[in-house]
């Protein structure tokens, strides 16, 4: 019985090391996708929350959780998708934001989406390559649901910006 060999904390630690399938420098724990682990006599229940409703990585993350636990002999896994409280980029730790920046993705700014600015000017995140603030948005929608596409007008490099929501 795995509960004799694995505590909740150990399982949480194992799962905390799973990288995000689309941004492998940060983990599902860093992103705030991994919410909880509960043990009972039947098995183990893992609670996750999606970043975006249609995020195709969620299925990959579920598979990764199952296969990782399988490697540790934990087979009876239930995965619960939780919608409330709603995921926000405010949950991404400062440490993880720094990892994003080093990876070439401008991290989300402090405050989540400003709902008042429907027609407002786009934000100007600092260029993750050279640090310049002289940047402009190319498109609000980028290579994945969570990112927007920007370019730096100083070093001329395009970069992804992790959108605030």
């Amino acid at each position: 019985m795995y509960t004799e060999t694995h505590s909740r904390e150990m399982i949480l630690k194992i799962l905390s090391e799973i990288p995000d399938p689309e941004i492998p420098v940060i983990t599902i724990k860093d992103l705030g996708i991994l919410r909880n682990v509960e043990l009972n006599s039947e098995g183990c229940r893992v609670t996750i929350t999606p970043t975006y409703s249609g995020c195709p990585a969620m299925k990959a993350i579920e598979d990764q959780i199952r296969s990782t636990l399988q490697l540790h002999g934990i087979g009876n896994v239930e995965i619960k998708t939780l919608y409330a409280p709603v995921w926000t980029t405010d949950w991404i730790s400062d440490e993880a934001k720094e990892k994003l920046r080093k990876y070439g993705i401008a991290p989300p700014e402090k405050k989540s989406l400003d709902k008042g600015s429907l027609l407002g000017k786009a934000k100007h995140p600092a260029c993750p390559q050279c640090g310049s603030m002289n940047t402009e948005m190319i498109s609000q929608f980028g290579s994945t649901a969570c990112k927007a596409l920007y370019r730096c007008k100083d070093c001329k490099e395009p970069f992804d910006y992790f959108k605030c929501i």
Binding site: L113, L118, S139, F141
Partner: protein, 252 residues
Amino acid sequence: MDKQKALFQYCLRLADSSLIMGQRLSEWCGHGPVLEEDIALTNIALDLVGQATAILNYAGKVEGKGHTEDDLAFLRPEREFRNVLLAEQPNGDYAFTIARQFLFDVYQYYYYQSLQKSKDETLSALSEKSLKEVTYHLRHTSQWMLRLGDGTPESHERVQRAINELWMFTGDLFDMDEVDALLLKEGVSIDLKEVKGKWENHVAELLEKATLQLPVQTFMQAGSRAGKHTEHLGFLLAEMQYLQRTYPDVKW
């Protein structure tokens, strides 16, 4: 009608509108006028299909017949779909798609703002989540409405024609029936008359900024609440459901 049946219908209305709009937008995949727009429309499609998936999953539980979200999406015939008529209208040119999406985004924006306060915890949570995504969609289509409306004579004419042609499908967005009446009393659903007021103000204000005329026609199509659709939905479903209809229960 009891509360459970009403809630099931209500979930279908919400989910089907997102699903059909997402399916329409995904038809642009690989055909966008520029790469960024191709990516933008498919991103919006992905959000909408994601929202539909979550609500259909809940609908299946409310119905209590063991149907999954996939069963509900792929195995219901046209007359059982409850999406708004606006969502099923064909893409047309880019101005038409943007105009349709803009009218829908404003609708979803105020709809979810209101539904966040629902006493139904699942609907409330999904609304709060969806609203964040819809805010991005609306920001995108608003900017395009301004660019096209206040752009060249041709872009202005095309987007004006699109708004005029789509206008008769906007009344259907706010129709209420016994399902709404029952759930409104329970604090589960929202009053679409309030959403309508906000929608009209918002649309009128933006059209003016975009130098476009607010249509004056008064005839409105109706029927989506009862599963009566325009001729376009059947063709859309034929494509969307083809695989599950041809190879029942196939998995890949």
